[in-house]
């Protein structure tokens, strides 16, 4: 293929470097410096997609972020698939593989086009609401079809092979946009010494200057850009971010920037290099120099390939040396677009005519055009584009002064390119993100940024200052102001200057009338991505949608990935006119983050794979892995769940671990339990306030179980606390509750009782805890320690002692969660592994068996010990748990939870209470969560009594066991309840004490 539209000279491309790429399965050649869009245009590719609803052929319309049609599915391999990339923003690289996102099965020859021809009737606005929402059950079926037809690309089915990154940045001044205003702002701010970040979405800084024929400081604009960027890069305090789109402007000057670090280099990024990076920027001051998007005019068949924005024509000609056609008709409402015709003529192509909608424009540019021999037709508009797959002509007709009526007959101008300009829409997107309401300006014929509480300044076209000299001036001033506001002074700044150009007044025109009524004329597109037409907006207002927000949602205008960058203002103007209101009266919709689509990779950064979420390990973790443990997630902790031996099922393992612990000795890594060191003379009093039970008399050397409640009286944590010294306690919490309990203690200490002399410190990670449990536990301990008297009378149940275990100083707690004789051995965690291994070695002759959390759960359930968060759910108070023994109402201080438990609802009869449940079928394990009923034959809805909270098969008991909530359960001992299951089975269970094993607790006290 030859690049038929490539101009013989000019442009910022490197003609020596030819690049081969594939588009829709065909191979093309472009040049270094091309975007995919410029390369496709150079190759004469007209159709780059099919439209969303009507499947009409679409071509490239713009040259930047606002492009609605040319969306690419990128990627040479499955793993590198990227949807929704705008061809106008994707740099070409050797071997690039792309296809059109819109257009199924392919853009040139689309099966859906048949639908498209019928589409006018088939899909009016509100189509989805009217048709597909009913019946709702069918939505999923419709959705598949619509999504596929909509063709918004697809994500990869494989893991992304590239590295993505997040980085945190802090700046005194962040400048968004590297055009004339942004560059001059950066130059001014940089000289102040402030930390400056300049970000621009394009591959090169310069913005419109890259295709401008203007001069700055008597130099061609592009040279000034080059010098300025060179100067900025000499500053240590300046970070230059090209290919970086500022996508979101959030609270308190927090902005996100999506940098495409190596998207321009290849299908994969170079080894070890980041593909895309999200910068999370906190800026003291922000200068928005985001420029403006040219607004297309709305006329019949304005979506034909060969209809473009005027500025895009200039960009392709001057920056990329591509002339996308041969005969141009330019329609404009303003002076600025004349330059596109001049650029076209300079490229040696024919300008058929400049069609100026203004009746009597007396601007300088009109005379320049005439002096260059270009035909200027004033008071006239292009009312319709002719052609089927490409423009072949423009129907023009005279227009009245206000632009709302044609005043004469139409005539045909033959051409293959129609450029239109309805003026500029300031790129106020980021300003909108902050919650600021845009303000209409008649002078700028566009919405400008409104008031904001953010530390934000604006400069250049985003302010409606469209002329180059104004952009340079405002940029310099606002760059200086931002630096000054951030606390940096600069004395002399030389302002870049450009010769002022006299300007004629632009005409506020959006929708070109047709000789037929809008509803009967060929389609006049407003939003190209969602196929919203002028007729559809008029229909919406006729149907009674008056709020612009409702019109937007009803028609889907602005809902595409381009967020209506080209269409929204036209749509609002059409809605306003059809409701006989002004644009300010109608108002505007608000843009939300993100400005352009952001990949998931950039959002996620390195928070994926192994780093998706922290995994917390105990000091024994390596041993658990080496010994085949299966792990369970408890919060962020990885806890051994069970240790299967080869050939064992999970139930086999549990049966073995449970029996070994009950019959000989087991070993549990209990290091994950939260541990809080409490010191101070008020420590004991504090415990009494936060726990429900009494602490006044707990002696040094003793431990006690405590229940912690919220002010509402509901249980929220439990654990054993040891009295280490008169003013020194060690509190343990549940594994998942550790952080919450510490915060709970702190909030009361800091906000309610600051006078109490006590300090809380987390020592969870400091102590490694190995729990030796089982009838042979003492024998194992005897082999490991010589300085702790293990005699049952000297070292009783619920005592703690310190001494040396396996040569390591240890604190040993005789507390038990299994109901067996247990020693919890706590050592400084650096020695945890050494002690663990010594315990395993000492226990070998007793067949010491490591067990995981599942066996722990079974053993404690056999004993009726609760797990807060499993057997409780925030609606359960101690009496519901039959834990009244742990509530000391006689304490002088009204402890947390006491008043809450006394509320009427907490003391009423028939509350759900925790009881034991013994299934009549000894093999039947009731699923946790199953609901109890009194009568399984009762008509639905049955009376629900409560759910099963814990349920296991107990190998020690030879039958299944459960705990659960039952209304009034504590008074129903011995009665039967029924658990109807989803599979039709009904399990009958007897209400009983939850203590199934060793009810007198003799085993743990031996």
């Amino acid at each position: 293929m030859t690049q038929i539209n490539r101009l013989p000279s000019g442009g910022r491309i490197d003609r020596a470097q030819s690049i081969s790429f594939s588009y829709n399965g065909k191979t093309y050649t472009g040049m270094q410096g091309d975007t995919v869009a410029s390369a496709l245009l150079a190759n004469g590719v007209d159709i780059v997609g099919r439209s969303f609803k009507y499947s009409r052929p679409r071509g490239i319309m713009a040259a930047g972020a606002e492009e609605p049609n040319a969306l690419l599915q990128l990627g040479a391999t499955e793993a590198t698939q990227t949807p929704n990339v705008r061809a106008t923003q994707q740099d070409l690289f050797e071997g690039l593989v792309a296809s059109a996102t819109n257009g199924w099965p392919n853009a040139d020859n689309d099966m859906m086009s048949l639908v498209g021809k019928l589409g006018g009737r088939a899909m009016p606005p509100g189509f989805y609401y009217k048709t597909f929402m009913y019946p709702q059950s069918m939505w999923e079926t419709y959705e598949k079809f619509i999504r596929k037809a909509a063709g918004f690309g697809r994500s990869s089915l494989e893991s992304d092979v590239d590295i993505y990154d997040n980085i945190n940045q802090h700046a005194d001044v962040l400048i968004v946009g590297g055009g004339p205003a942004g560059l001059s702002a950066a130059l001014a701010a940089a000289q102040s010494g402030a930390r400056v970040i300049l970000a621009d979405e394009q591959s090169e800084f310069g913005g419109s200057l890259l295709h401008s024929s203007a001069q700055i400081n008597m130099l061609p604009a592009a040279d000034w850009v080059k010098d300025t960027v060179a100067e900025l890069s000499t500053y240590d305090n300046v970070i230059l971010l090209p290919r970086s789109t500022v996508n979101g402007y959030h609270d308190h000057n927090f902005l996100t920037i999506h940098e495409r670090c190596s998207d321009h280099l290849g299908d994969r990024s170079p080894l070890g290099k980041v593909r895309q990076r999200m910068h999370r920027i906190r800026a003291k001051w922000v200068v928005l120099a985001t420029g403006a998007h040219e607004r297309p005019l709305v006329f019949a068949n304005n979506d034909l390939p060969g209809v473009m924005l005027a500025s895009a024509v200039s960009t392709y000609v001057r920056r990329y040396a591509v002339a996308p056609g041969s005969k141009l008709v330019l329609m404009t409402t303003n002076d600025y677009a004349y330059q596109s015709a001049f650029d076209w003529a300079d490229a040696g192509r024919e300008v058929v005519a400049i069609v100026d909608t203004r009746t009597n424009p007396d601007s300088e540019c009109v005379f320049v055009a005439k002096s260059r021999g270009i035909k200027v037709i004033t008071g006239t508009a292009v009312i319709e584009a002719k052609g089927s797959k490409r423009v072949t002509g423009a129907m023009i007709a005279p227009l009245n002064e206000t632009g709302d009526q044609l005043t004469g007959d139409a005539q045909l101008l033959e051409c293959d390119l129609i450029a239109s300009s309805g003026g500029w829409s300031p790129a106020i997107h980021l300003s909108c993100h902050t919650g600021s309401r845009p303000v209409w300006s008649d002078e700028a014929v566009g919405f400008l940024p409104g008031d904001t509480i953010q530390k934000q300044l604006t400069a250049g076209a985003v302010n409606g200052s469209y002329s180059l000299d104004a952009c340079l001036k405002e940029g310099t001033e606002q760059g200086l102001a931002a630096a000054r506001n951030a606390g940096f002074e600069v004395e002399d700044v030389v302002m870049p200057v450009s010769a002022p150009v006299s300007e004629g007044k632009p005409m506020a025109l959006f929708h070109i009338p047709h000789s037929k009524a809008t509803s009967r004329a060929p389609k006049q597109f407003v939003d190209f991505q969602n196929d919203v037409t002028a007729a559809a907006i008029e229909l919406a207002t006729r149907e009674g949608f008056e709020s612009i927000e409702h019109v937007k949602r009803y028609t889907a205008m602005g809902f595409g990935t381009d967020q209506g960058k080209t269409g929204n203002i036209n749509g609002m103007a059409i809605a306003a006119k059809s409701m006989d209101k002004s644009i300010p009266e109608t108002g505007t919709t608000i843009f939300r983050p993100n400005y352009t689509p952001v990949t998931f990779g950039a959002i996620v950064g390195r928070n994926c794979g192994d780093l998706f979420d922290p995994e917390r390990y105990t000091a024994i973790h390596r041993w658990h892995i080496e010994n085949g443990a299966k792990f369970e997630d408890v919060g962020q902790w990885k806890r051994p769940w069970y240790y299967p031996k080869s050939g064992e099922s999970m139930q086999d393992t549990l049966n073995r671990e449970c029996k070994a612990t009950r019959e000989s000795v087991g070993l549990l890594d209990a290091s994950t339990l939260g541990k809080i060191d409490i010191q101070g003379k008020d420590a004991r009093e504090f415990l009494g306030r936060v726990y429900t039970n009494a602490w006044a008399k707990l002696a040094v050397g003793k431990c006690r179980y405590g229940l912690m409640c919220g002010e509402d009286g509901m249980v929220f944590d439990d654990g054993v606390t040891a009295c280490l010294g008169e003013n020194h306690f060690l509190m343990t919490t549940t594994t998942g509750g550790a952080a919450r309990v510490l915060s709970w203690l702190e909030i009361y200490h800091q906000t309610e009782w600051p006078e109490m002399e006590v300090y809380f410190n987390s020592v969870t990670d400091h102590w490694s805890t190995a729990t030796i449990s089982g009838p042979n536990a003492r024998k194992v301990m005897e082999k490991l320690t010589s300085d702790i008297d293990l005699d049952g009378e000297a070292f009783k149940f619920m005592d703690w002692r310190s001494g040396t275990v396996a040569g390591v100083p240890a604190r040993v707690f005789r507390i038990s969660f299994t109901g067996e004789l247990s020693y919890e051995v706590n050592v400084q965690a650096n020695y945890g592994m050494a002690v663990w291994e010594a315990i395993m070695e000492a226990g070998a002759e007793f067949n010491i068996t490591p067990y995981g959390t599942e066996t722990m759960h079974v053993l404690r359930a056999e004993k009726g010990f609760i797990i807060v968060g499993q057997d409780t759910d925030g609606s359960v108070h101690p009496y519901d748990l039959d834990h009244g023994w742990a509530v000391a109402n006689q304490k002088p201080f009204s402890f947390i939870g006491k008043r809450g438990m006394a509320r009427a609802d907490c003391v009423r009869p028939n509350r759900k209470q925790l009881v034991g449940l013994k299934p009549k079928d000894p093999e039947a394990v009731i699923p946790e969560g199953a609901q109890a009923v009194n009568d399984p034959e009762q008509a639905i809805p049955m009376e629900m009594l409560g759910h099963v909270t814990s349920s296991y098969y107990s190998a020690n008991l030879g039958h299944s066991i459960a705990m659960g909530m039952i209304k009034n359960g504590l008074n129903r001992m011995g009665e039967s309840v029924f658990y109807p299951l989803a599979d039709g089975r009904v399990i009958e269970a007897e209400i009983c004490s939850p203590v199934f094993y060793d009810p007198k607790g003799e085993r743990q006290r031996v």
Partner: protein, 225 residues
């Protein structure tokens, strides 16, 4: 008061706080720092040349948390006399004879000292302060120190923490507790190109993986502890 314990290492002090020497008398008992499993010795031998980042675990130091009020002269002078350093103010740190003290919170400081010296230091501090209101907690097993040095250290750490670590905002000696990935760290600037992280034991593997991953594009090497 009655001494219910038989162990001489566990001492009842005048504050009725139990102090305990947690280091084995027998030096042959193997100690495993939180990054023991990462086998940094082997990683160190495979190090990249001209690495932009140099990582090192300062393993098995003793860590003491100090709690007390700056308005309490008994506390402040006690710390000063035992440590030979004035308590650092907000976000500051101080170093003296191999000991580092870091401000953590208005009533909290972290002291690190050579491994095995923590017990003695705690005794000295307790003696110096007497019966006033304060707390000292040995957390040596619960955390470790990693140093991050090199020309790219700052750039790499910008990927780890949202805190502004630019030298104009975080000069040498400044210390902050902030996020580190989805975990957290006490971050101190030790030099123009040097930082130190104090991280929790259970998160050490995550933090180390994160550091390796974030350092990848600069090239990194590991110094043996």
């Amino acid at each position: 008061m009655s001494n219910t314990t038989t162990q001489t290492d566990a001492t009842d002090t005048s504050q009725n706080i139990v102090q305990m020497n947690q280091i084995p008398a027998d030096a042959s008992v193997r100690a495993e720092s939180p990054l023991y499993h990462a086998d940094l010795k082997t990683v160190a031998e495979q190090g990249t040349q001209d690495a932009g980042i140099v990582l090192q675990e300062l393993a098995l130091l003793d860590h003491l948390v100090l709690r007390g009020s700056v308005d309490n002269a008994a506390f402040t002078t006690g710390v000063e006399s035992a440590l030979g350093m004035v308590l650092p103010a907000n976000l500051q740190s101080a170093e003296h004879e191999g000991r580092v003290i870091r401000w953590i919170s208005p009533d909290e400081w972290l002291v690190t000292t050579a491994g095995g010296m923590g017990f003695e230091l705690e005794q000295q501090l307790r003696e110096a302060m007497g019966e006033t209101h304060f707390a000292i907690v040995n957390v040596s097993g619960g955390q470790t120190v990693i140093t991050v040095e090199g020309a790219d250290a700052e750039e790499m750490l910008k990927k780890c923490t949202p805190y502004d670590i630019h030298i104009s905002h975080m000069p040498v000696g400044k210390v902050v507790t902030s996020l580190f990935g989805k975990s957290q760290a006490v971050i101190r600037r030790t030099g123009e190109q040097g930082f130190e992280l104090v991280i929790r034991r259970s998160f050490a593997d995550y933090c180390w993986l994160w550091l390796q991953d974030a350092s990848g594009e600069f090239g990194f090497s590991v110094k043996e502890s």
